[in-house]
Symmetry: C2
Subunit: 106 residues, 2 copies
DNA sequence: CACGAGATGTAGACTAAGTCTAAATCATGA
DNA sequence: TCATGATTTAGACTTAGTCTACATCTCGTG
């Protein structure tokens, strides 16, 4: 999980882990994932309409959601830029990202 | 709903509507909201960790999430810009937005 | 080694958002 | 008025995420 390039849901992680550790409890997987988030080892994303997904990549980056497959792709931070953030006058922006949707070119 | 500046969840809409129409069924509210989305009268957002929220503002815009209150604010499209989108070479970007999190200044 | 205390994991119950279903009701045209 | 299709209802159902009580593990100490 901590090294995957994907963005699995908790249940997906559970199913994957259960292949190697069939005795592991679902609650343990949820609890562990949430602990990792709390301790800063993972980030949770609310991009998927069905569930929270977890992102092991801690460096700030953008996201591209493939509408055909549902896959979430990490986009390097400096690939695109958000210009004019200073104009957000009434807000203190702690973090931001560009969320893009579309399809992957072949 | 179609004119609100907020981003209510389905259940929030239900509770609001039920004040005027106590007989309305929860499923009707869900069904109607989903129909509105399908017909393009509303957009659904997956920004809130707890539920889908609905956005009546059809013009493209960005979002700012107030982490203190959970409130979602619409940010005018031209307030900030995403530069270098052409660099998304392997992707066909159908739509994008900047999602910002932080707090509102007093 | 034994023991106690705290941490961690388990198994299943529980909650709540969202969906489904069968039936009732409504709306419309003939 | 009636038939038909559309819409709504009320509650059941599903499932992601959380909670709970208990079991098990880990570690430090004597």
């Amino acid at each position: 999980m901590l090294t995957t390039k994907e963005h699995p849901s908790a249940d997906r992680v559970w199913k994957t882990v259960a292949e190697s550790f069939p005795a592991i409890s679902r609650a343990t997987v949820y609890n562990t994932l949430n602990l990792f988030v709390e301790k800063g080892l993972l980030r949770e994303l609310h991009l998927d309409p069905d569930s929270v997904v977890f992102d092991p990549k801690l460096e700030t980056h953008h996201h591209f959601i493939d509408e055909a497959t549902g896959a979430i792709h990490d986009i390097p931070w400096d690939r695109v830029q958000v210009c004019n953030l200073e104009s957000m006058r009434g807000f203190k922006v702690r973090e931001y990202q560009v969320v893009m949707r579309g399809t992957k070119r072949h």
